[in-house]
Each structure stands twice: as structure tokens, then as C-alpha cells.
Symmetry: C2
Subunit: 403 residues, 2 copies
């Protein structure tokens, strides 16, 4: 039996509304009181009181827009306070760590990018870098109210419950309790949340990127590894443990090449960057610059590079057809270096979709490029970190003031 609540206390209603109001402002960047009144179905005085609460908490500010030529009293604009609290959003990728201070409304106040190599990829070294970046960012934002949470994107399988990284093959991590490990080293007992890069990218592209307004979205992130994040009916699809969306490890040919995951013929072995380089005849180098060079050659018409991109695009289309058949999304956002494959050879991608996806689902799907460019996972990590503040703004601010 599903338990249910019937009585709702006035204080709970206020908290719920405060949370909803802050979510609206966070999502839209800024809104007039009139917008908020219309959208939330509350009267003007209730909205006024809630906005005052958020102002008192130091989270938002109000201003009267100037230069309006419409008649009548202009509606006040409610916006995040530029010096309000921020979150630390971290993207741990194979070649770099990006740490950013992101404010309400999704504004990236500042960021630090550090290139990393093998030794720097050890979990303790990554945590140390993040702690150092956090201090660097705090120095750059002296007037700010400080950080309220940390969100970290990892290219691997992450247990949702506690941010335990099961396996991040391209970082060479196995069974790393990264959320706990980083939380111990962060000052002020900041809450640390860890998520899979593609899952976070899906949230960000749905919330602020190319897939705004679609309820069913798949974000496919492909560079060295290939991962997926799913938005189903407006919410993230986690699966039982948080491992849903491992699209890169769908078997598309049981007799195909070995994959680092232990299987063979995973789609990652056909569309990951190593496959592209192999097809282009590059066997002795790897990394973003080498991949970019292949794309540049393909754009310039070099036969071997064009063929390599075509091969990857064809397999990508097969991958997307499987995605369409499984999830029936309205939009698939293709990010990472696979975005460049779509740019260079969309025709081959779409042809395989036409051929292999069920007609009704195929007719309803668009293949999109990311709206947030390289920042999908980073912005998604910020959204993850903002979760607590958005859920209970007053409790969060009170508990921060106490530390």
C-alpha cells in the first residue's frame, strides 16, 4: 500500500511554495512578479510575501525594469542575487578537471580548468585538485555568500544512493567512494553529490540546453567512452541503482571487438574515439587534438578521414535507432566528439535511423546538437549540487549560517 498524506500544515505549504518559487527563478534566470503570479496560481500578496522571504534569505533581489514604454506600473523583476550563494560544479573528464562556481539561474561566475595525465587521475589527486580549485574560486568571489554544495560529474557508473563510483574505466577507477572521499576534504562540511557525466548532461540539456520543452529526451555523450542519460516524462530515469542509460555498452555485434567492460561488440567499440582513430589509420596517438585533426581532415575532404567519419556516423545511426526503439524520445542530444560526427555526416546518421527505428517513434524524434556545447555535464553537476537548496531554501540558508 502506498502511504499517503492528507492533512497539510500551513507551514508546509509555505515551504513548498518557497521551494517552487526559487525553482522557477533558478530555471528561468529572472521573472517578473506578474509571471510568477500567473504561473504559480497564487495571488499577488502571497507571491509578494514569498519573494520577500527569498530576499531576506539573501537568495534573490528585486528591481524595477527601466525604459518600459508600456502604460501602467511595471511589474518588479525577481532575479538571483549575483553575490548570493553558489555551488561548486566539477567535471572530471579523462584529460581535464573543470571546477566552476555556478550561481542560481545557472550563471557560471568563474571556472578553473586543469589538464590531467595518468598520475593526476588518482582519486586522491583529483580530490586534492578540486579542493584547491574551490579555494581559488572562493578567493575570486570575495563578496559572495560562499558555496552551498558540490556536484561532481564522473565518466563512469555511479551508485546513486551515495556517490560511490563503481567503475570509471577511462580514469582507471574501480570501487572508489568518491563522494565520501571528497566530502572529508572539503571545508565547512559541504554536501558532495556525484553523478554520471551523461546522466548530468541529460539534466542540463533538458533544463537549459537544446532539449528545453521536451519531456522525453536522451542525451548521448561520446568521446573516449560513450554514455547515455535519459529524461522520461520530465524526470531523470535512474533505474534501480542509478545505472540506467549505459547505452555505450549495448551489444550491437556479439562477434565485434573486445570492449574494456569485458564484453565484445559494444557500440562504444564502434563509435568511441578509438574507433574513429583506428578507422582513420591513426594507431600511435590519441587525445582531443588528434581527434580534432581527423575531423579537420574530414571537413577538408581527405578521403580516409571522410570514410572514417562515415563509418562512425553509420554506427551512430544504428545506436540511435536502438535508443529510439527503447525510449521513444522526442529529442536525442548528441554531445562530446560525437557531436562533430553529426555535424560532418548527419545524412548517414539519419539514414540508419530511417532504416532501423520503428516508423512511429522515428517520425517523432529529432537529433540535436548540445545547447551547452562542452558544458552539459558541468552544468548538470551544478543542478545536482543545487538540489538541497532548491528543496528547502530556508533550512539550507539557516544551516549554512550556523557553520
Amino acid at each position: 500500500l502506498a502511504a499517503q498524506r492528507v492533512a497539510v500544515r500551513p507551514e508546509e505549504i509555505r515551504r513548498h511554495n518557497l521551494s517552487q518559487l526559487l525553482r522557477s527563478i533558478h530555471q528561468h534566470g529572472e521573472l517578473t512578479r506578474a509571471d510568477l503570479t500567473a504561473a504559480m496560481g497564487l495571488n499577488r500578496s502571497t507571491i509578494g510575501a514569498l519573494v520577500s522571504d527569498l530576499v531576506a534569505l539573501g537568495l534573490v533581489t528585486e528591481y524595477v525594469p527601466s525604459g518600459r514604454d508600456r502604460a501602467g506600473r511595471p511589474s518588479h523583476v525577481v532575479a538571483p542575487r549575483p553575490d548570493g550563494p553558489y555551488v561548486l560544479a566539477v567535471e572530471v573528464a579523462v584529460e581535464r578537471i573543470v571546477t566552476a562556481a555556478v550561481g542560481l539561474g545557472g550563471t557560471v561566475h568563474d571556472r578553473r580548468v586543469t589538464a590531467i595525465d595518468n598520475a593526476d587521475r588518482l582519486p586522491q589527486a583529483v580530490a586534492g585538485q578540486i579542493v584547491s580549485d574551490a579555494a581559488w574560486l572562493a578567493d575570486r568571489l570575495p563578496g559572495s555568500q560562499g558555496a552551498v554544495g558540490v556536484g561532481v560529474s564522473i565518466p563512469g557508473t555511479v551508485r546513486r544512493r551515495d556517490g560511490f563510483v563503481e567503475h570509471a574505466p577511462n580514469l582507471n577507477w574501480r570501487a572508489v567512494p568518491f563522494a565520501a572521499l571528497l566530502a572529508k576534504r572539503m571545508p565547512r562540511h559541504l554536501d558532495v553529490q556525484v553523478g554520471n557525466d551523461a546522466d548530468l548532461g541529460a539534466v542540463a540539456e533538458h533544463q537549459r540546453g537544446a532539449a528545453i520543452g521536451y519531456d522525453n529526451v536522451v542525451y548521448l555523450n561520446g568521446s573516449v567512452g560513450v554514455g547515455g542519460g535519459i529524461i522520461a516524462e520530465g524526470a531523470q530515469l535512474h533505474g534501480a541503482g542509478g545505472y540506467a542509460g549505459e547505452i555505450g555498452h549495448m551489444t550491437v555485434n556479439p562477434d565485434g571487438p573486445p570492449c574494456h567492460c569485458g564484453s565484445t561488440g559494444c557500440i562504444e567499440t564502434y563509435i568511441g574515439e578509438h574507433a574513429l582513430l583506428r578507422a582513420a589509420g591513426v594507431t600511435d596517438q590519441h587525445g582531443p587534438k588528434v581527434v580534432a585533426a581527423v575531423f579537420a581532415e574530414a571537413a577538408a575532404g581527405d578521403r580516409r578521414a571522410v570514410d572514417a567519419v562515415h563509418t562512425v556516423a553509420t554506427w551512430l545511426g544504428r545506436c540511435l535507432a536502438n535508443v529510439v526503439n527503447c525510449f521513444n524520445p522526442q529529442a536525442i542530444v548528441v554531445g562530446g566528439s560525437l557531436a562533430e560526427v553529426v555535424r560532418l555526416d548527419r545524412v548517414s546518421v539519419e539514414a540508419e535511423l530511417d532504416r532501423r527505428a520503428m516508423a512511429a517513434a522515428r517520425a517523432g524524434v529529432q537529433v540535436l546538437l548540445p545547447g551547452l556545447d562542452e558544458d552539459s555535464a558541468l552544468i548538470g553537476a551544478a543542478e545536482l549540487a543545487f538540489g538541497n537548496l532548491l528543496a528547502s531554501p530556508d533550512e539550507m540558508v539557516t544551516s549554512l549560517a550556523a557553520t
Copy 2:
């Protein structure tokens, strides 16, 4: 901005609670007032009033259990009225049409099974058969309050919005507005809902079958065709148009055999019944009896049949590994003739899962046989048909009384 409601009128609370109470009784078959009080978090007098309302609507009955040896006053048991309203649940399969009268609590009061062949599979003929079965069932349930809705399971892609069948290859249907077509012929303007067989099977196995208590479930239904239904965090995953879960048409080898869907190397071409028969060397016959004969031979140790089952089991394991990687379910229920493949050669299925599914997700999944045997889709069709009554019991009963 997501709209939200704040004020809740007392009448809305009563309606909501009436609906929740009826859902509980429907799901569990019968419950004591004490169970209901505990589970719904309402006081005894409120539960008493709500139960009285459902009694007055003719939906439930109360009785005092006899033979209790516990001390104290026994709690009244609330149960669906055996002569209460029922729904017509219909399973249209390739070889047969099953129409059943199903009461609240999921009780199948009576059913009629009709074998069908090519001509009988025309949409008008199928609708005619259902109308005739409905009348036959009504005659057999003379004291009942009659049918309150119709749910139909179709082995094909169904547009969720209006029950339009896009493509049911094994019925040879394309673009058939079956819900509208059947509704026109049903007496008393009964509401007709149409769903995909595997989607409905998933709902039924989750609600009343092998997957009770799991929040993330995949039901894979395989006979001539192969389809899937997904339960994610307790709710059905529909996708944008209702086409999610077309697992049978995942490409698992682009160079594989042609599939009726227009693609090649769909998993259906490796695990559908035609593949089993081909592997067993049966090329001139088909149908359930021929398939059953191959299974009987395999069970008896016939080399060729054993090998055929092994081949299908291996491909089935690959299919399930893809399912685990995409959806991270706790349970996969394998139904249709594929259930027999699991019974005969589970080792091969699980071996491919071990090899190809991501470790963390693999560790958390069980492969189960259906709890409802052949009736998963039929019971799911009943659940679909009960939707309106469960959502607003009083409105529904009132509108029926008016017709």
C-alpha cells in the same frame, strides 16, 4: 514554469481518498479496515465513511471474518463486490482472441477463447468477435452490474493518446484506429482503451505477478514477435508517443537476417519463434503446437532441439544484457514462449548476462518467469480498462447509472 495548485478543497480530498482506497482494495483483493487505516494514514472514522461511500456505490462489500481466535473485536474486511461492475479485458494474439470479464481485485469471472486464422484477423472481424464475446459474457453474469470499460491488448505499436494501432505486423495491421472502431460497435458507449501487449504485461506482472514489490521492471514478451514493457520507478515508461520498449527491434547485428520491420539483425530475428524453428530444422510448419513440440524434444534431450534452444537462450541473454544496461531493472520477467527457453536453458541466458551487462547493474537484477502465466497481457488489459473507475469511482458509477 510548471503550474501548481495550492488550495485543495475538501471535496477534492474526499475524491482523492475514495480513489486511493479503491485502488488499495483493487490491488490487494481484500483488506481489513485496520490495514486501510494504517496504510492510508487516515483515522478510523474517515476510513469508515469512505468505505460506506464505496459500499453505497455498489463497488465493495464488508464482512466480519469468522473463526478468528485472536482476542478483541475483529476488524471488518473490505472486499470487491462479486456482483459489482467488471471490465472487458481482451487479448488479441496471433492465433487467438481471449475476452474476459474481470472484476475489481483482478478476479477473472469468466472468459471466452476463440482461435483465429488469417481472415479472422481483419480488424472488423476482430471487433465483431469482441462484441459477440462481450454479449456472451454479459449473459453468463446476469446478476452483475455490467461492464464499465474495455481494455484491449494488441501485439503491435499503439499510439497511446487514442489507441490507434500503427503497426501490428503479425496481425498484418497497419494504421488501424482500433479503439475508435471497436468503441463504435460496443453497446452503451463503453470506453475502449488499447495498449501494446508487452506494455500491458509489464503492468500486470508488476501489479499482480512475479514483479510485485519491484519499482524497476522490464517485461519481455516473446513468441512470434518480441516486445517489451518497462516499469520505471513504479510507473509505466511510455515515451513520447507510447512506443517505448520496442526491445524486439534492437539491432544486435547489422548484417543479420531481414526483419519484417524493414531493418536487419533485430533481436527478434534471433529469438522469435521463427528463429527457434529454423534452428531446430523445422521449415514447413509453425504455430504454438510446433513450437511446443520443439521444446518437448529439447526437454527429452534431442540433440538438434537442445542446440536450437541453446542458440536462442544465448541470444536471449544478449538481449537481456542490453536491457540491463539501458534500464537497470531489479527484475526482468520473460514471458511468452521465451519463458520456456529460460526454463530449459537458464544457464546460457545468465552466462551472457554475466559477460555483457555492466557489473553493478548485473548484480542487482533477477530473471523471473511470469507470475500470471499466459495471462499477463490479458490482466494488463483489465488494468488499463479499470483506469477511469479507479480514478473517479463516484463519477464513473453515476455516469453509468445515467446510460
